[in-house]
Amino acid sequence: MQYMAFLPELIVVGAAFVVLMFEAVAPRRASGSSFILAAFALLGAFLALWFTPAYSWGSVLRADAFSSLVKSFLVGGSLLILLYAWPYLRERVSGISEFCFLFLTSVFGLMLVTSATNFITFVVALETASLGMYTLAASMRRDRSSVEAGVKFFLNSAFATAIMLWGLSIIYGLTGSLDFSAVYSSFDHFAASSSMTPEIKPFHLLGILALIVGIGFKITLFPFHLWAPDVYQGSPTPFTAFLATISKAAGFAILIRVVVWPILPLVGDMQILFVALATLTMLAASTAALLQSDAKRLLAYSSISHAGFMLIAIATMRDVRHLSGPAAAEQAQAVASLLFYLVAYMSATIGAFVVLYTIESKRKDSSLKAFNGLWRTDPALTFSMTVFIASLAGLPPTIGFIGKFLIFYQAYSADMMFLLVAAVVATVISLFFYFKIIRCMILNTPDDEVSFRDSPTRAFAVILCGAILLAIFFSEPLRNACMEAGKAVLLR
């Protein structure tokens, strides 16, 4: 039973080791076969996710509707990224099987993160994923900026993990356990009787704060986002897409689980923190994005600002223990809208990176200038990019509009007018920098006559664009799945 529940993970990690063997046994043929195996492993894991039963493995791991849904985002997104990374791998990377191994272990680690129900499992899974990701960031070994990205990523991430572990040690000291359920009942007990020992409340909050700071690094919340633009810019473009989508999705998944489970009794005290972080992240990132002239950096800041939008949903959460049916359902709605926003964000971001990569690989330039006059040479690619950007900016009729709509709706229902105003201001600012790209594509004249028609990734972008456009008519099943996941994570 437990093996069935974690079959997707087993497939991914099994494939990772087989890929490693390829390199040892038949180094000449390793490249192509390891790529194919990795792609099929991800596909298999994606299919297996449909059949995984809900199951708790002690207090270590837990497979439920929530983790299955998030894992399907992770695996599906990874598959897309791996497929479009193929041209990149063939041209720039020496050891494709190494890349595939690291890629699969990262995915494996992030999948475990979404299932973790124990802080130790969480940290171990996160570090498993991170080790792979540091190496991937630096995988263009001859490119100085890629190496710099790897080192920066490693140092910052290690620092964040240290802070998080410090917070966890405080939590452990206060509760005597690292199980989510044990921490929860201890905090619950404390919240009910905190009037008796008010002097230790700051320690509780400090521990939680350090934990959130640690997660905040991973999901690039202001002011812990400073590593992101450099790392995003320096890393190879397919991997930047991985960082911006897959890794962030896993980070939000664990943040949701932590907020609705172990720290739930004290979440009321944390609300002000979430509101502040969300506001600052949205505004600071969109303002900084205005100044960028490199498309990769611009998308990095856009991704940071989206983290702020998603945090709005978390900020609307309240202590649900004593709420009755409909109010609890509203909380599930908050989780559901965050998950939906995540899909919208991931699909559009991957799409934008596919287009960026298509252009970058031909023009050897990732600055906004590389987009100049794209409309004259390739209307289809321009149209796709415009759709991705419209989706990121939340304009109808794209899936991003529904996502932003749901987040705004959530903030409205929770009566958080302040957050709402901040979100609208950030959206208006974001229109300016998103239109910078559209403006380059449509208004500027091209510098050269490069054709992108023979680019293998071009068709990919067009298909993804069609999916995003049609999503508004077929979003219902996804909404329902998100709602189920929200209920699963809340009601445990």
């Binding site: 304009l395 109808p396 009729p397 229109l431 909404r479």
Partner: protein, 496 residues
């Protein structure tokens, strides 16, 4: 659902199908592309006329007086759904007709476009879908979706086929309108949270205390589009830089979206706030009348002058709508239609002279009445209609707008209404000044060889000429068909 028909979605499909066919045609078959695009717009117009005639049939209107309604849930939010729900009442039908007509005119007048013809027509047809969509949406979010759908094609039209300063103008246009519509979206979401549904055919009352903020949020989004003073600064740039057909559509249809929104969403959704704030809106309307008129008087560029005069003429619409009476609504709607026809015609005429000379300055011309007599006659007709010459359509609607304004606001605010009338006089000064400078006096040597209107230009302008005269004599055609809708909206606003 009872009375569900696919007519309106099919009407929207006509331009989409045209667009898809265009995609299949090779880009260098320019002639074929033009024929397909114009044919698509003509078919859409014919279909719209067929639907308009069918409006009188018994049983077409449903209980809420919407005809051809069609509804399909898009996605669920909260306890209700956002609907793909369309339907037209008299108001919507008139605006859909105006849209289809002006698109035929705009596409015919664009037959001389040589640059990227296929994309040009594809973008225009997409714009047409968006416009029809806004005028027939009966769910606030569908309204919003179509509203936003219009912006990107218009942006591309200005940005690619526009004049010298097109970069600046197109960005200013899109950022102003996108920013404004975000506020509108917020207002809509707030209404949806409070009322539990966004269906415009079954409007639910929300508590009057929560209406004020939402009213202003939606108002900003609409006011940017109209544009009302102080949200107007994008308009002269966008109009001036847009290609001729773009200006026609912009002035003839896009500006009307804002005032249409007043009638369709703003007043019905927030009646108590509307009653409370109507005088403020009237003041903004009169300020726009005067400000736009003075702005127009000070322009040296003919196109910029007409664009600025639009601000003034739309001010009359806002003034009439702000009376919240059925008569005022009808007057405002008539003025919307008439202004669309007149200004569309004027932009077309300016485009003609610009194509020939590549100049638009008022002082660049003189004595053209000898050189282009036919052109002069038509220009004079539109100029007179614009300043409200009795017998032409502009007179009827501006008179009715002022009349309803006087009925409601003369007693409390006599100075305001006096100022509004003063706006008409300024209109006469700059419009006749324009005609005098361009057409009278001796003709300079260099303009002697200008040719008069050719077939393409005549075909595109003559329907508008006919309507200028016809609606001047028989405005009842429109007033009668919108009467029922106006009564219902006024009743809803008065009931609070």
């Amino acid at each position: 659902m009872e009375g569900t028909t696919l007519h309106l979605p099919l009407l929207m499909m006509v331009p989409i199908i045209g667009m898809l066919i265009l995609m299949l045609v090779p880009a260098d078959k320019v002639r074929l592309i033009r024929q397909i695009a114009v044919a698509a717009s003509v078919v859409a117009l014919a279909y719209a006329i067929y639907l308009a005639i069918g409006m009188n049939n018994p049983g077409v209107l449903n209980a809420e007086q919407f005809a051809y309604s069609f509804s399909h849930p898009l996605f669920a939010v909260g306890n209700s759904s956002i609907l793909f729900s369309v339907g037209v009442d008299g108001l919507g039908m008139v605006m859909v007709l105006l849209t289809c007509l002006l698109f035929v005119v705009a596409l015919i007048v664009s037959l001389n476009i040589e640059n990227r013809v296929r994309e040009y027509y594809a973008v225009f047809l997409m714009l047409e879908v968006g416009c029809i969509g806004v005028f027939s949406a009966t769910d606030i979010f569908l309204f919003y979706i179509f509203w936003e759908l219009i912006l990107i094609p218009m942006f591309i039209i200005i940005a690619v086929w526009g004049g010298r300063n097109r970069q600046y103008a197109s960005l200013k246009f899109i950022l102003f309108t996108l920013g404004g519509s975000l506020f509108m979206l917020l207002g809509f979401i707030g209404y949806y949270v409070a009322g539990g549904s966004g269906d415009l055919t079954h409007i639910r009352q929300i508590a009057s205390g929560s209406q004020d903020l939402l009213f202003w949020l939606v108002f900003i989004g609409l006011a940017v589009k109209i544009p009302l003073f102080p949200f107007h600064t994008w308009l002269p740039d966008a109009h001036t830089e847009a290609p001729t057909a773009g200006s026609i559509v912009l002035a003839g249809i896009l500006l009307k979206l804002g005032t249409y929104g007043f009638l369709r969403v703003l007043f019905p959704l927030f009646p108590s706030a509307a009653n409370y704030y109507a005088p403020y809106i009237a003041v903004l309307g009169v300020v726009s009348i005067l400000y736009g008129a003075f702005l127009a008087m000070s322009q040296k560029d003919i196109k910029r002058m007409i664009a600025s005069s639009s601000i003034s003429h739309m001010g009359f619409v806002v003034l009439a709508l702000s009376t919240l009476t059925a008569g005022g609504f009808a007057a405002g709607t008539l003025q919307m239609v008439n202004h669309g026809i007149i200004t569309g015609g004027l932009f077309l005429l300016i485009g003609i002279i610009y194509d020939r000379t590549h100049l638009r300055g008022i002082n660049d011309f003189g004595g053209l009445y000898r050189v282009m007599p036919f052109y002069y006659g038509i220009f004079l007709l539109f100029a007179l209609a614009s300043i409200g010459m009795p017998g032409l359509n502009g007179f009827v609607s501006e008179f009715l707008c002022l009349f309803s304004g006087f009925q409601t606001y003369f007693a409390p605010m006599p100075l305001l209404m006096t100022a509004a009338v003063f706006g008409v006089f300024i209109g006469v000064i700059y419009m006749l000044g324009l005609v005098a400078k361009v057409f009278s006096g001796p003709a300079p040597e260099k303009w002697r060889m200008l040719s008069d209107l050719d077939v393409r230009e005549s075909v595109s302008i003559l329907p508008l000429c006919f309507l200028v005269v016809f609606l001047g004599i028989a405005p009842g055609v429109i007033l009668k068909s919108i009467g029922l809708a106006m009564d219902l909206i006024a009743k809803r606003v008065a009931s609070m």
